[in-house]
């Protein structure tokens, strides 16, 4: 990991297109401004990790998907009894 020290108002350039600016630092919280082209996603790391964790929990891994048949049955039953809904085949 590259470690750089920046003061408020100073910036870092990443690659050709990404600029990170330290906007402020107070109470242990650093506010960062990020300039990046639309093609580059900028996300908090913990949210990406949480999504990964959720995907891993959801992965079937050969689990008995008799659960899936029950799920579909239950879903259709709910949808059919909801007001104003026509059953779709």
């Amino acid at each position: 990991m590259l470690v750089l020290a920046r003061r408020e108002g100073e910036s870092i350039v990443i690659g050709e297109d990404v600029v990170v600016t330290v906007l402020g630092c107070e109470g242990g919280i650093v506010r960062l401004g990020i300039s990046a082209p639309p093609s580059v996603a900028v996300l908090r790391q913990e949210i990406v990790q949480q999504v990964g964790q959720e995907n891993r929990s959801a992965c079937l891994s050969g689990r008995n998907v008799g659960g899936l048949a029950a799920l579909r049955k239950g879903y259709r039953a709910k949808a059919a009894t909801a007001p104003g809904r026509n059953e779709q085949r």
Partner: protein, 155 residues
């Protein structure tokens, strides 16, 4: 194309039309190396589909089409995602990955990070919503006034 799926429990071979073989350039979170998925849309599963990884037969997901589910699930894609998927003028397929629970009623759906597919280009990506009000594990059957099953009925 014939592929192996474990989406129904034991490994099984199924025939999948070329148009349902989707490339995920970055995989999905936690499965970054899985770059190709088959979209299995058996009629008897509807409204659920299976996303079966072609890299590993044991990697499969249940998903549900979110676009038909509720008038409120409006996905404004970031320019980044539009660019990757080439979605300038085409309406994407938006799926929520479902997590099965002990019982059918425990199932949840990930509305915070939907899987977005461009059916024409056969490109897919899991995009993370930045707006509020969505969940990694939204109950599919919650209560009488909420939950996606009821939203579908009102939609």
């Amino acid at each position: 194309m014939k592929i192996t799926t474990t989406g129904f429990g034991q490994p099984a071979e199924v025939e999948v039309p070329e148009g349902d073989l989707i490339t995920f350039p970055g995989g999905i979170a936690g499965f970054e190396e899985h770059n190709r998925f088959a979209l299995l849309r058996e009629v008897e599963l509807a409204p659920f589909v299976l996303l079966q990884s072609l890299s590993n037969a044991w990697t499969a997901f249940v998903a549900i089409d979110l676009s038909g589910v509720g008038q409120d699930y409006d996905l404004a894609l970031a320019a980044a995602d539009e660019e990757v998927l080439g979605l300038a003028s085409r309406k994407p397929l938006v799926l929520g990955i479902v997590r099965l629970g002990e019982k059918a009623e425990d199932a949840t759906v990930n509305t915070l990070a939907p899987v977005v597919i461009n059916p024409d280009r056969r490109l897919g990506r899991q995009v993370i919503r930045r707006d509020e009000g969505y969940s990694l594990a939204e109950p599919l059957f919650a209560g009488a006034e909420s939950g996606l099953a009821t939203a579908c009925g009102k939609g």
